[in-house]
Structure formats: C-alpha cells, structure tokens
C-alpha cells in the first residue's frame, strides 16, 4: 500500500495527498493512553520512540504515537496516545505498555486501554481526552507515524506525502508549497493532527527549501524554562 499510486493536489497554499497510506481509522481499533507525568517534550519523544519500538517488535503494523498537553490537579504535563494496526489483541498491548510503565518509575503513572485503566485517578480524565483526540485525529503532536524515519535528508513534498502518513504540507504565514518543493527534514518530523488530517507545518529556509516548523535542536537558552 505504501507505494500505491498517489495523487497530489494543490489546495490553496498547501499540498495534500490523496493516497493510501494507512492511518488510524476514526472510531475503530484500540487507542491506548500512557502518562508518566512527563514535563519535557524531548523526554516524551524518547518515551514515544521506546514504546513504538516495543510495539513494533510485537508486530505492531502501522504505529502512531502522539503527545498531548495534559493537566491534572493543575499540573501541566504531557500525555501520550498510541495506536497500532497490527497488534492482534488488546491483551498483548496491555503487556507491552505495562512493561513500559515498569521501566518508567516516576511520580505516578496512568495507563488506559479500552475500558481498562490503572494508575493515578487524576490522570484518568486527561488520558481519556488524549485517547479521544488520537482516535478522532482532532489534535496531537505526532512523534511516530508511518514514514517518520524513512523520510530522511531532503525530500520533495510529493514524495513525502506519498511515502508517509502525512496528509498535507502547510507553509507558515500563508507561504506556498508545491509538489516539487524540497523539504529539508533534518531527520525530524513532528506533524500534528488537525481536524482529521496529519499536517506537517513548514517554513521557508535557506536555499529555497522548506524546513519543518519544529527543529530538533532549538537554540539553547541559558536560562530557559525547559
């Protein structure tokens, strides 16, 4: 399916894919929620990739892991949501995620899958929100998705759309992306779900290329908050 025929269409200033990359279908399949009260985005990324690797090893198929701003008892942190097309049964999911929980001892945890939940009571509701955002593809910063690692270096927009789950490439401030525009990925893609679409935000960069909005190495700030 990945290499099936792809039609790119230019709509407004964005380039969309009308393709056949598997994405989590709305309202179907299991979506897990996972919360260890992570506060740093880079820690959430590492956690997401660890979980994705474990699920992939279980035959995870098309794996999506997304992060969501969460709040419990006024405490702002990051929750994760996970879906995998190829995991046979919810129970094998549970095993994988429980292992991830065990390896992340911290201030507290929450783990949600279908009607099961373990962890701190106050994380139950934010996790349910994260799961729902993932299920409906309403929102979420997507860390792991089909094509996230194969699109390294510099790729054309149409190629990116054809070989990944990304539905649309948007350019900040009303800029324009063409199918042939080059995206210098910096090997770091963090698209987001927006109203059902997986959107990669980009911006103009040196050499006429686009770069993703989010850089893997933002300027260190000596007194930063995080």
């Amino acid at each position: 399916m990945r290499n099936g025929s792809i039609v790119t269409t230019v709509s407004g200033t964005d380039v969309r894919a009308s393709g056949c990359i598997p994405t989590p279908r709305r309202g179907r399949g299991s979506v897990a929620g996972f919360d260890v009260l992570t506060e740093l985005q880079r820690d959430a990324d590492v956690l997401a990739e660890t979980i994705a690797a474990a699920i992939t090893a279980e035959g995870g198929g098309d794996v999506f892991v997304a992060s969501h701003p969460a709040r419990s008892d006024g405490h702002r942190h990051i929750a994760l949501s996970i879906s995998a097309s190829g995991v046979a049964t919810p129970s094998s999911w549970w095993d994988v995620l429980s292992e991830a929980v065990d390896s992340n001892p911290g201030n507290g945890i929450g783990l949600a899958l279908d009607d099961r939940y373990i962890g701190l009571p106050q994380l139950r509701e934010p996790l349910a929100d994260a799961v729902q955002a993932h299920r409906t593809r309403r929102s979420g910063r997507v860390i792991v998705f089909p094509g996230c690692t194969t699109n390294a270096g510099t790729v054309m927009v149409e190629e990116l759309l054809a070989t990944s789950a990304i539905d649309r490439v948007r350019v900040l401030a009303g800029g324009r992306a063409d199918p042939g525009s080059l995206v210098r990925t910096r090997n770091f893609l963090r698209p987001r779900w927006d109203d059902g679409e997986l959107v990669l935000d980009t911006q103009p960069a040196a050499g006429g290329a686009l770069v993703p909005f989010e850089t893997p190495f933002p300027t260190p700030c000596c007194q930063s908050q995080g």
Binding site: E39, R76, G174, A205, T219, C222, Q223
Partner: protein, 573 residues
Amino acid sequence: MTHDHGNGSNHHSHEPHDHSHGDGDGDEPLAPATDLSIDDTELSPCQLGRRRFLRNAGLLGAGAATASVIGPAVESAAAAAERPSSHSSGGFQWLAGDHHIHTQYSPDGQYRVIDHVRHAGAYVLDWMVITDHGSLQHAKIGVEKVNPDIIAARREVADVLVFQGLEWNIPSAEHGTVFVHPGPNEVAVLKAFENSYDGVVTNTTASSPENETLAITGLHSLKQAVRSQQVHDALMLANHPARKGFDSPHEIRGWRDAEPRIAIGMEGAPGHQAAGIPTPDGPGSARGYYDYAPDPVNSFAGYPMESYRTFGGFDWMTATVGGLWDSMLAEGKPWWITANSDSHQIWADTSQRGPNSDFTDNGYFDDPIHITSPQLVNGDFWPGFYSRTHVGADRPGYAAVMRAMRAGRLWVDHGHLVNALDIRLRASTGQEAPLGGVLTAKRGTAVSLVIRIRTAMLPNWSQFLPALAKVDVIRGLVTGPVSDQDTFTAPDTRVVKSYDVSGMSDVIALTYPLGRLVDGYYVRMRGSDGNRLAVGLNGAAVDPAGPAMDVEGDADPWNDLWFYTNPIWAVPT
C-alpha cells in the same frame, strides 16, 4: 554625530543624583485619578468621579503614563511656549539607547562592561542598560561585582548614560529588563529583587498561577522601592516576548495593570539580529534566534505557530497589525515597544571568552582575549550598531530618559533606517500630542497626523546609506478594556495609509487627515526599506504590505530594515 538631538545638544548631565533639576523619581505632576498606584479608596470624590469617567472611556492607564489625557491643552500650550515649534524632533532631545545588554557576568556572556560602553559610545548611543541574567551566581556575586565596572564606565565614557539593570527571569514567563535610576542603593534594590523574585533564583520559572502571582508581587516591590525612595525610579520591560510563547496575553496585561508606572512595555524587536545571516558567513539560524516551537507545559496554548517567528526582524506581537500589541493599545492603555541588541557575543568579533574561566565558582568569565579568526557563528551586534530605541527626553540625564520611556516618547529602528522622526497628532484647534500622548478634543474636531521624517544622511554601520521606501499609518479603534485577558486580536486596527517615499531625502513632511474626531482611536507608524514585504497575517485588507516572515538561515538583517513608532491616542471629550 549622525543623529538629531532636537535642541542640537549632545551633552548629558552625568550626575547620577540630579535632585537639583527636579528629576526626582521621574514622576510628572499627574492628577491622582490617572495614577493607578493610588487606590480608588484613597481618591477624593471628585477624583474618583474623574477616574470612573476615564475608566468607562477605556482610557485609564494611557493618562497615567502621559498625563495628556487630563490636560492636553495645558500640555500643548506649554509646549508651544517652551519648545521651539519649528524643531524637527518635536522639542525633545531624542536619545538613542539599548536596554538589553549582557556582559561577562552572564553565563552566556563574554565582554567587560567597558567593552560594551565604549562600543555603544562609538556607535552613537546615548544611554544603555547592563542586564546580566538573573541566576544564583549573579544574585550572589555578579550583581555586586558589575557595579564598580559600571561606575567606572560612567566616568570613562562620559557621553553615554549607563544604567545598571538585570535580565529578570520573570516567574512563570519569559525574560524582562528591570533597571533602576543610579544611586547609592541601586545594587541593594536589584539584589533584593533578584533574590526574592527571579524565577531561576527562586525556582519559579514554570508556568503556574502561583508563579504568575510572584511576578506581580515582584513588580509591586519595585514600586515600593521607588515609593520609599530607595531608588529614584525603576522600570520593567518584557524581552523577546513571543519567542517561546511563555508570555501569555493575560500575564502581560497583568504586569501592565498591576504596576503601570513600572511595567511599561516590551521589546518590539528582539536582539540577536545577526543570527539569521547564512552560513558560512553567519550562524545560519533564525533571526533573533526565534527557532522555538510551543512547549506543551509552559507556552500559552492559544498562540499560532507564526508567533514563534520574527517578521522583518520584529516580534510577532508587534509586527502583526491587529495583533497582540494592538489589542492592548485598543484598550486605551499604554504599552510601549523598544528594540535592543541583546548583545552576548558579537558576530565576526575577533575575541573569545577568557580561557579557563570558572563562571560557576567566580560568577563571571575572565576578560576576553584576542583571537585571529572572526567568530562568524556569533549572532549579535554591539549596542547601537543595528538596533536603536530612541527616547524623547525633555532634558539630559538618567531621570529624564526613564521619564520619557514611561511617557512612551519612543520609536525604534534597525540599521539606522532614519535619522529622526517627529510625529504628532494635531487638532484643528492647535492642540497637539506627541508619541505616547493622548490628544483630547471636542467631538467633531478635525484631527491630522503630522509627520516629519529626517532621512538617513550618513551611512550606517554596514557602510551604506539606508533608503526609506515606504511609510505606513496604522489606525485602531479604542474599544476599552477587554473582558478576556487573553485577547490577542484587534479587529478594528488596520493600515489606513501607505506613502511611497522612495527617492525622497532630507526631510519628508506629510500630513495625514484623520477626519473629525468621533470615536476614540490611536495611530502608530512604521516604515520600511521596502525590500521584503508580504501580506500581513490578518489579510490584505488589514495589512497589504507588511513585514515578511524571516527565512530561517537566510536573513541578512541589513536588507530588511524597519522603523516603528509608539502610538498616539485621540479621544473626544
């Protein structure tokens, strides 16, 4: 001298304690009604009525800073009597400065105080503020050790006013400049403030309601330091406000409304303007180092991605017509913009930090040493080299600079785009208001914006004569205080006039008729070299040719120059 000083003088009084000139703590003789530091309960019934009127008109605050709202006719008459009306810079001495500069007492700094002050003097700055980062080391060591260096620099470079300040880690938010009038307690006040209210020192940088409250308490403490005459004056301005989305609209409004005579504004343009110079000639980063993404824990969730980038070198809050800044001005309250270097390490400089320095233990880096290789990975300019904040002081001296900043007599430019500006609102009756002021006139009075621009007459520090290509008038309706403190749009603000001034030189004189005064409004101006223009984020009907978003890794700052003024309000009586 490449800049115009209004009365032709470029000589300052450099006495830190200028009591004899009546500068005092920088206060103007304000009516109590407009001084928000005075509680309602302390006002006379007459003053309370006055305040209610102003509050209902959405104008309380503007008057507090300028006094013009309560007596423009008096002010104007005084101006006519005392100020040379023919003067191109409005009767004020326009003093160029920079309130955001780091030295070897910052953990990411490098230079001595005297290095910065001598460069600032050479690049024709009149005033500057040393603002090393708040930190454990700085609170313990740096805040004291930098002081003798500053005092020595005041003596050695007599043409430059040197304030001591601090780059405050605002609890729950971004950084801000805090600085005080020179005096025997300048260190004590700054040190006490840093120890009690700096986010890093007190571990309160994380976003939370408690930490937001601590920031407000810190501002109150500065006011108290002035009120108790520990220092003559103190000011706070938010630095690089949109860089990381940490300064939510309600926090900014909270600072302004809590202490309007202390928290007066923000950087309209951040420093680090060389950061976007392409590799291998420069860092190849984002202009201003604005290369961040929202932080899910600390950023205000409502900001769009564009807010994390610069536009023509300016911060999104300022660069967006109808954006956050305009939403604050539309409330009828003062909030001013500045432009600074944020100098840490200078692009193409041939020095480096003192080798084998131990900042952690010593609280400073050893003096820099010469190296052969120009440091093209550095992203900053010397103070005065590129970014300037022009202050319309009514006399020389520290207190006058602070007073003028509080009054909003401020405009900013990059690359020395223009030499001088004189912008006034003028009523048909002859009343006038300067930048930061409020023109009040009878409903139906005809009002004009009177503009005089003195173009650059000498090359800038990149050795070319900048050419102004266009000038825009931005007008917004005063709609009163917002109910949602996180508002960051002003739907009734737009560019109402653009002048093509290409090829004009010397003095550009323009008059823009604003019609008869019906509803309260404000106007502000901006101008450009015309090199990089784009439709604004709120569409062509609002801003058809505004600053373009800067290109990451390819932003030569000298090819994209802008000036911005602060606003002037017009209010019917």
